[in-house]
């Protein structure tokens, strides 16, 4: 029974009680139109329900801010006309555009109705399993709720910020053609040195100036070999990293940064892997190319913060999950207890770069402008600066990123020599 029916029942009961109290038959007679209305609803309430629903989305993967068209087709496979209303689950984060998404309609037997609405959604993985439909009499008094199977899935990928190029020189390259200078002679563009001419060397590579100085001798130019490097992205999505201020979430900035770095590194031609430390430990094995980018963006879209991996999972995270001698790029706002991870990673021979969205300046805007608050913010800034300094002392490159500034601008300022060397 719906709220409408309950309300009508209440009026009838009230009128009957008033008739009894006032000993007035006219009051009881006044309840009759309500009683007949209720009876008509009951008599026309649905019998057998044979409905089928198909849910479709015009995109199954989209970027944040893209408009998605959601279409639901309901087919009445029975003979009777049914009055139906959609009670579809729409996550609160969706911004619906267009018409009413839950209209009441009368659907004759063997007919179908298509109900459509458009929405934009923030990053995430959205899944629907069933479509709740309320079937009722024409007045909507006697309702029956049925759940029709109508599965669908939508992945809203994180936005990627434009990064022109990755500013860190990646050493320990793989012996596969790539974008990084390997400090080995081979095919490339950058001049490396000279060697004696061997039969078969291209005449274009002969260094004629040296040949002029050394008669009867020829020298061949050598170039620095350009190779692919292994980069492991580590996204810190522990509960502590989820901080909200002014409708924005710091974790979303971290995810955007990870997506942007993955895109840039893969576009350069590197082999990239991903490890997400969140609700669960998610790993994308090393790979290259567009398909790898798709894998990484999909996992980032599904990323949820959480602490199911123990109290401080970063402290006990097996560093060997990343390929040996690779460069680890960690995206984390950081806290004091995380220092041990960097020490272990450096001891294992990894080069580490930390991109740290600044949680202090992110949250400072929300504090009142009192002297105590500004003093507290200053103290937090100092504490963070001290922590980052200690991380730098371990030979870790640090990008301190106030999220209000473009990431590209902050990344550009890292000193090349800072990574992998004790300052």
């Amino acid at each position: 029974m719906s709220a409408k029916a309950n309300f009508v029942l209440l009026i009838i009961a009230g009128l009957l009680l008033a008739a009894l109290a006032g000993r007035n038959g006219a009051l009881a007679a006044m309840a009759l139109p309500f009683l007949f209305y209720l009876a008509a609803g009951w008599l026309t309430s649905p019998g057998e329900i044979r409905l089928r629903a198909v849910r479709s989305l015009n995109k199954i993967r989209c970027e944040t801010g893209d408009e998605v068209t959601h279409t639901v087709t309901i087919v009445n496979e029975g003979e009777d006309t049914l009055c139906i209303k959609l009670d579809d689950f729409v996550p609160s984060e969706f911004r619906i555009t267009g018409e009413n998404r839950s209209p009441r309609v009368a659907l004759p037997g063997n007919e179908s109705v298509e109900i459509q609405y458009r929405f934009t959604a923030p990053r995430g993985c959205y899944e629907w399993q069933t479509l709740p439909v309320t079937v009722s009499d024409p007045f909507g008094l006697f309702e029956r709720r049925v759940e029709l199977p109508a599965p669908a899935r939508l992945l809203v990928l994180p936005q990627t910020l434009p990064l022109r190029k990755f500013p860190v020189r990646l050493s320990h390259t793989l012996h596969t053609v790539g974008p990084n200078l390997s400090r080995l002679p081979g095919t490339g563009i950058d001049f490396w040195g000279l060697r004696e001419y061997h039969p078969g060397d291209s005449l274009r590579w002969i260094h004629w100036r040296s040949a002029a100085r050394h008669p009867k001798q020829l020298f061949t130019k050598q170039f620095e070999r350009e190779e692919m490097a292994n980069v492991g992205l580590l996204l810190d999505a522990r509960s502590i990293t989820e901080r909200t201020e002014g409708g924005e979430n710091l974790l979303e900035h971290s995810i955007q940064a990870t997506a942007s770095l993955a895109k840039t590194l893969l576009q350069m031609g590197n082999r990239v892997s991903l490890l997400i430390l969140g609700e669960r430990l998610v790993r994308v094995f090393p790979g290259t190319g567009k398909r790898q980018l798709t894998h990484i963006l999909d996992r980032l879209a599904e990323c949820r913060p959480g602490d199911k991996n123990g109290n401080n999972p970063l402290k006990y995270l097996p560093v060997r999950l990343f390929p040996a001698n690779s460069t680890i790029v960690m995206v984390s706002p950081m806290q004091t207890g995380d220092l041990a991870f960097f020490a272990r990673a450096r001891a294992e021979g990894y080069r580490v770069l930390l991109v740290s969205p600044d949680p202090v300046s992110f949250q400072a805007s929300g504090y009142s402008q009192t002297p105590a608050a500004s003093l507290a913010v200053r103290a937090a800034h100092l504490e963070r600066r001290a922590l980052l300094w200690r991380i730098r002392q371990l030979g870790v490159g640090v990008v301190d990123w106030p999220v209000g500034r473009p990431l590209a601008q902050c990344v550009r300022s890292i000193p090349h020599a800072g990574i992998g060397e004790r300052l």
Binding site: M1, L15, M30, Y37, C83
Partner: protein, 164 residues
Amino acid sequence: MNRVFRSICLILAAALLAGGYALDSSWVGAAAVLTLAACWGIGRRFHWNWLHSALLAGYGIAAAGGILLGISAHWMIAGCAFGLAGWELASEDWVQTNDPALPWRILLWRKTLPSLAGSVGLGLLAAEILLLVRVSVPFGVMLLAALLGIVSLYLFYRAQKARP
């Protein structure tokens, strides 16, 4: 079309109730009913859907009060019945622009209107007959019948609630 029927029902409901009070020279009652009708119109304009049910209850109370004050029950019951029809028609936005499901919404409207007219009309007719045919019932029997009615309504409510 729905707007026309809804307006007719609401105007008739207000006119019958206010007219009944006016015939009895209860100008305060008539003014109260007209104020309720004006509130209904304003609530409709600002999409205060909760106001519809509150105002139907208000109409019911006004009609019951009128009957207890000795005003003609015919006017009061008719006013209340039209109020019920107006409430049902106002409970939903029947037609929307650019709605792909528009044909099925019109079909729902076509199914609803005859059922509504039939049920409220029959109810009104039954009430009028009950007013014309004077039957003397002892209080004890009346009490028993009313209690039976309320218990039946409660059992009906529970049975409907238990339905899947």
